[in-house]
């Protein structure tokens, strides 16, 4: 019996030993497999954003930008996120939508700001999108939808405007995997708790989306990229229950008023 166990251990050790030894070789470069690096993502982000900003109108009104930046600053600083990597842009559009682009570009529609009942709702959506960026979901989604080779060709400037348009359309109007959405929700709740912002308004916002689904078309944008709103609201509430004793609003009343007034300017 001892001999059998010994021989079994030898076999297992042989297998793992061989695997670990082979692992030390950089097979990716041996087989010349293209690998996605942070640098590639930044380049893709820049290409997509450069084209996107030409087709849309960005709100650069200082009052609005400062207000929204202060929410993002608070979420980032309390969660050890490098603030430099997140670039927030307000786009003047009535649709209720926000989405993340490669390279840390976070696009927020003015329609989302005006439709939010309080700053915590907006902070919730921002935290959710920041989670997608931080968890690397954006590139995962793009690799799945358009393929790695198309993405790599974008960085060398070989792809046409149509491809880039298609990529930005995917980013703004198609959904992430359910698994990735849940991951982003949970991480958003953690971000909000660490920043001492109440996560419940995010759940309320999702309920609102689910209820307004039939009546208002403007709600469809964020809804099309975020299905199962009701279910998500439920687990966000369950996850955030009793975790914060004395949350502080994401923005003061004055700043919130200024942001709402200037969002669509």
């Amino acid at each position: 019996m001892k001999k059998i166990i010994f021989q079994f251990v030898v076999l297992v050790a042989l297998f793992f030993g061989l695997w670990f030894a082979l692992k030390s070789i950089n097979w990716m470069s041996v087989f010349k497999i293209e690998k996605l690096t942070d640098d590639t993502e930044i380049k893709i982000g820049k290409t997509v954003w450069d084209l996107y900003k030409k087709t849309e109108k960005e709100n650069k009104e200082e009052k609005a930008v400062i207000a929204i930046d202060s929410i993002v600053d608070r979420i980032c600083s309390k969660n050890n996120i490098n603030r430099e990597t997140i670039k927030v842009h307000i786009i003047i559009k009535d649709d209720i939508n926000a989405f993340a682009m490669p390279g840390g570009h976070l696009v927020v529609y003015s329609g989302l700001i005006t439709a939010s009942d309080n700053p915590d709702e907006l902070a919730g959506v921002l935290a959710h999108e920041i989670s997608h960026i931080e968890l690397g979901h954006v590139m995962k989604k793009l690799i799945k939808e358009v393929g790695l080779s198309v993405l790599i060709s974008m960085t060398s400037g070989n792809s046409g405007g149509e491809t880039i348009k298609q990529v930005s359309k995917i980013l703004s109007s198609s959904a992430f995997d359910r698994k990735l959405e849940k991951e982003a929700d949970i991480s958003a709740v953690e971000y909000l708790i660490n920043a001492n912002i109440n996560p419940e308004p995010l759940a309320e916002f999702l309920y609102k989306l689910a209820e307004n689904k039939k009546d208002e078309t403007s709600y469809e944008s964020w809804l099309s990229t975020h299905p199962d709103s009701k279910k998500r609201a439920e687990y966000i509430l369950a996850y955030s229950k009793n975790k914060l004793k004395n949350p502080q609003p994401a923005l003061s009343d004055t700043s919130w008023k200024i942001l709402k007034e200037n969002a669509a300017d």
């Binding site: 021989q7 076999l11 695997w19 670990f20 082979l22 692992k23 097979w27 990716m28 990735l180």
Partner: protein, 141 residues
């Protein structure tokens, strides 16, 4: 591999024992994409011969047991490949190293199986490292 058996098997026995390896060899080729096929094929052959003579039963058991470790190794590789193709995983050096290790183990098993099929056909007993001792433990005369 060792070559001692309690008695000299007849030609008929040698043929059957040799077939058990051939069976797992064919299944190994057919089962490459779906590893479970190897095991099922060897299992059917094993059940079919469980009332055979000691020499036949012994080699059927060894052929079956040797499929088990490949089943685990190949299944893991199979699901890893699927998750790269359709899931969130991306190709990495770790994955390629695993696939190469998996191929080396499959090829070794392939060669050992061919060798065993030839030797047992001649009536020569072949006892594999680890699997032979395990078979001795399970398969009684």
């Amino acid at each position: 591999m060792e070559n001692n058996f309690e008695y000299q098997p007849s030609d008929h026995e040698a043929e059957k024992a040799s077939n058990s390896y051939l069976m797992s060899l064919i299944a190994l080729i057919a089962g490459m994409p779906l590893p479970i096929i190897n095991l099922i094929a060897s299992l059917i052959f094993f059940i079919g011969n469980r009332k055979g003579t000691y020499f036949v039963r012994w080699h059927c058991t060894q052929a079956l047991l040797s499929q088990f470790s490949l089943l685990f190794i190949n299944s893991f590789g199979f699901w890893w490949t699927l998750s790269i193709m359709f899931g969130p995983e991306t190709i990495s050096s770790k994955y390629i190293a695993y696939i190469i290790t998996m191929l080396i183990f499959n090829i070794s098993e392939f060669i050992a199986t061919i060798y065993s099929a030839i030797q047992t056909r001649k009536g020569i007993h072949v006892k594999w490292f680890f699997y032979g001792n395990l078979t001795n433990l399970i398969c009684k005369a």
